[in-house]
């Protein structure tokens, strides 16, 4: 078990992770499975019993979720329980261990919960398509390259749901059970909990498998919906791997371009031209993708796209000020420091460092970011290549 020892948080946070191949055929099934895993267990065989147990264990939090890491997905069980020294309850630690044991080893996977999982997942997927921003993102990613992992939605496919059979989920569960776990704990676990967590069969973290999205000709899709404003998502190939020496310059570039409210996109599209309320850029690190998202009126679409392109050209030509560059670096440094106040961020950072075999300390990372120069930023900017764009337009 990887342990991050601290007493500054009220909760102890525990992550039990499995790394699995990201696959078009299994992604929807895994989504069904995680609904079932958290629904009920052998000892807590109704939602009511499980809810009472969690509430009684001082609102212990339990969740299952999926996260993409390049060609892999992480299937995570997450637990958060209040530090026992804050609570004057005699059997509290036993309750926590019991719940963890039930959730991890004794889920009640029956046909009823299977049908319920399919129903809940279908509702969630339908709702995601209702939201123009989410729909635009999903479409833009699907246009990149149908053979690349980035085109596989982590939430699964609505169209696959109906044909999934209960036996397939049971079989998937049996396979998943055999995969060794990666266990993290942020906080200081009570000896009983420590013993329980250490008893989970564990593996060391496997090497990262990733491939960058290709710099192909751009694909576009335009849809109309009865909405109030147009949603735009663009995907750019960065051609920069997370393991490359250009990765930190890419982080600074993203910060200059559109990570926050002090950025070229925010300043020139929102503040100067009043074309939108929100505009930002973000990175999908393991796939080598940079996203730009905004919402504007259909009548301003062309102007908005022109301005976005202008800001990218500004980055390529290095026409940003020293101050903009320094602010972008400070913003990044601040973001790294803040992670120390969030248990899940601390765990994630540790996981990534192990996955990527990074050994540099926070101080070394900060020193490295401070040294990044204009040339390095222009270099990564010059590799940006638009590969797809989805536009959900409001009807005239």
């Amino acid at each position: 078990m990887q342990q991050i020892q601290t007493k500054k948080f009220s909760d102890v946070s525990v992550l039990v992770r499995t790394l699995l191949p990201l696959n078009r055929d299994t992604i929807t099934k895994y989504n069904v499975l995680i609904f079932m895993l958290k629904a009920k267990t052998k000892a807590f065989d109704t939602k009511q019993k499980l809810s009472i147990a969690l509430n009684h264990a001082y609102g212990m939090r339990v969740s299952y979720g999926l996260t993409g890491y390049g060609k892999q997905i992480a299937l995570d069980a997450r637990f958060q329980y209040l530090r026992p020294d804050l609570i004057n309850a005699p059997h509290y630690v036993d309750e926590v261990v019991k719940i963890m044991d039930e959730i991890l080893y004794h889920p009640l996977l029956d046909e009823r919960s299977f049908e319920e999982a399919k129903y809940l997942l279908s509702r969630r997927l339908m709702r995601q398509d209702e939201d123009p921003d989410t729909l635009a993102l999903k479409l833009a990613l699907s246009l990149v390259d149908e053979d690349h992992d980035i085109a596989i939605p982590i939430q699964g496919y609505l169209k696959d749901l109906e044909s999934i059979r209960f036996e397939e989920i049971l079989s998937l569960y049996e396979q998943w059970k055999q995969v060794p776990r990666i266990v993290y704990c942020c906080g200081i676990p009570d000896p009983k909990i420590d013993q329980f967590l250490n008893s989970i069969p564990q593996s060391s973290i496997v090497p990262l498998e990733q491939s960058l999205i290709p710099q192909s000709d751009p694909s576009f899709e335009f849809l109309q919906k009865r909405i109030s404003q147009t949603s735009i998502v663009q995907v750019y190939a960065t051609n920069t791997s997370i393991t490359s020496e250009n990765y930190y310059p890419l982080l600074v570039l993203n910060s200059i371009l559109g990570q926050g409210p002090v950025s070229l996109l925010f300043e020139n599209v929102r503040e100067q031209r009043s074309l939108c309320y929100s505009i930002s850029s973000s990175l999908i690190r393991f796939d080598g993708a940079l996203l730009i998202s905004t919402g504007t009126s259909a009548s301003h679409l062309d102007e908005c796209l022109r301005l976005i392109d202008e800001q990218i050209q500004t980055c390529i030509q290095g026409n940003f000020s020293d101050e903009e560059m320094e602010i972008a670096k400070m913003d990044l440094i601040d973001m790294f420091r803040r992670q120390q106040d969030r248990p899940w961020s601390m765990i994630e950072q540790d996981f990534l460092d192990t996955l990527l075999k990074r050994e540099d300390s926070l101080q070394e990372r900060i020193r490295f970011i401070k040294k990044i120069d204009r040339q390095a930023i222009c270099k990564v900017a010059s590799q940006l290549h638009l590969v797809s764009m989805a536009v959900i337009k409001e009807e005239e």
């Binding site: 601290t6 009220s10 809810s51 009472i52 509702r123 709702r127 409210p261 503040e271 009043s274």
Partner: protein, 417 residues
């Protein structure tokens, strides 16, 4: 808990609350004023003033100019991130940083106590706010709640969007914003909350010294006013079409407010506990509602009680509107048995949630500001749940009058109900 709390009222009447959380890297400071979307009607002395709707929110956007520069840029130069929000009853400005706090804290105090706007800056902001309006307008969850407020209230300004109407946003003038600022942004109306890992005394000294630059200006306080609100709802049913995959339904029960703060807090906590018992997996019928596909994960209940209003709202995205209405009707009639063990578990969970809230800088600061503006102590209020018994809660729920209910349905386009 390893936490230190200090409060002080300065000479100019700024109320300061500082909280120390040792070992934390970040610091979070927030300045709040008791003005928001509710500030449509105000009274100074005997004079009534009618503001354009959305005035407080528009001003919040414009406050980000200080000495002809964008405050966000100034904070960024100090390795700090800033933001603001406007709710119905308050407006708050804040920054957070992992670097030195001295300069950003002075900047926060300076920019909220200075107005630097022109007609040009006001005009420029309109497009941005109208885009923000559009984001909310196309969101079915938001529209459902907004239309429920419109259905429930005749005069009470919950029925008006915090952003205002599109017409008022488009017509907003520099004079209106300036007058609003002069009436409401005074040190005596301000609450400053800081949460940090740093020692508190030097911070108090810094704030105290800096606030000497800002004496109290207002002689007569402006107070927001509400027209008398009838007990009855305005629209019993309302439906509209949106580009959604499945209908949404909301049921809003119009209740009354509780003028005494202690009673109001008690009712607010009690009703929330009760809702956690009846419209939640703790209710054994919840599983049947799921099995019958009457509810999914998109459903919930929320309540709010202040001295001026009280309501409970239930909502869901469902094809089975009539079945959902029947369930909520039974809940409102208090006909579901509330299990005592379930109630005790909800109470424990609520106590734990309060403990956890102390780790979240932003919400902890906002809740402390809100409590100070409303006239109660946040940390004392956290203890209310410990004192509430099952019998107390059921007595409070029995006293609620569920006779006034408004229904709003959002249908998928081209689908007639």
């Amino acid at each position: 808990m390893n936490i230190e709390i200090q409060k002080k009222t300065l000479k100019n009447n700024v109320r300061v609350i500082l909280i120390r959380k040792p070992d934390y890297v970040q610091s979070f400071f927030l300045c709040g004023f008791g003005t928001g979307g509710f500030n449509v009607l105000e009274k100074v002395g005997n004079q009534w003033i009618e503001n354009p709707t959305g005035c407080a929110h528009f001003l919040e956007h414009q406050m980000f100019r200080y000495k002809n520069e964008d405050v966000t840029d100034l904070f960024a130069r100090l390795q700090s991130q800033t933001n603001a929000f406007t709710s119905y009853s308050e407006t708050a400005y804040y920054f957070s940083t992992t670097a030195s706090i001295e300069e950003p804290l002075k900047l926060l105090l300076d920019f909220v106590q200075d107005l630097n706007i022109t007609q040009e800056t006001v005009e420029k902001e309109k497009g941005i706010i109208l885009s923000e309006y559009a984001i909310y307008d196309q969101n079915p969850d938001f529209r459902l709640i907004k239309e429920l407020y419109v259905s429930m209230y005749k005069n009470y300004p919950l029925k008006i969007d915090i952003l205002g109407t599109e017409e008022d946003i488009s017509r907003m003038s520099v004079e209106q914003l300036r007058a609003f600022y002069m009436r409401n942004y005074d040190p005596s109306e301000m609450v400053l909350v800081g949460i940090t890992g740093l020692p508190l005394e030097p911070i108090f000294d810094l704030i105290e010294k800096h606030e000497e630059n800002y004496p109290m200006q207002i002689k007569e306080k402006s107070r927001r006013q509400f027209l008398e609100e009838p007990k009855e709802i305005v629209r019993k049913t309302f439906s509209m079409d949106m580009d959604v995959a499945m209908p949404y339904i909301g049921l809003g029960y119009k209740l009354h407010g509780y003028p005494k703060v202690e009673e109001c807090l008690k009712v607010d906590v009690a009703v929330a506990l009760w809702l956690d018992c009846v419209f939640n997996p703790l209710n054994p019928n919840y599983q049947t509602w799921l099995d019958d596909q009457i509810i999914s994960q998109v459903c919930g209940a929320e309540s709010d009680f202040t001295k001026d209003h009280g309501y409970i709202i239930f909502y869901a995205q469902t094809e089975k509107i009539e079945e959902f209405k029947k369930i909520i009707g039974k809940i409102a009639a208090n006909s579901f048995f509330v299990d005592k063990e379930a109630f005790e578990s909800v109470k424990i969970q609520s106590i734990a949630r309060n403990l956890r809230s102390l780790d979240h800088f932003e919400s902890l600061a906002i809740e402390n500001m809100r409590a100070e503006l409303e006239g109660y102590d946040y940390f004392q209020a956290l203890r209310i749940v410990e004192q509430l018994t099952f019998e107390d809660v059921m007595k409070i729920v029995d006293s609620l009058d569920f006779s006034q209910v408004a229904e709003v349905v959002i249908n998928p386009e081209n689908k007639e109900e």
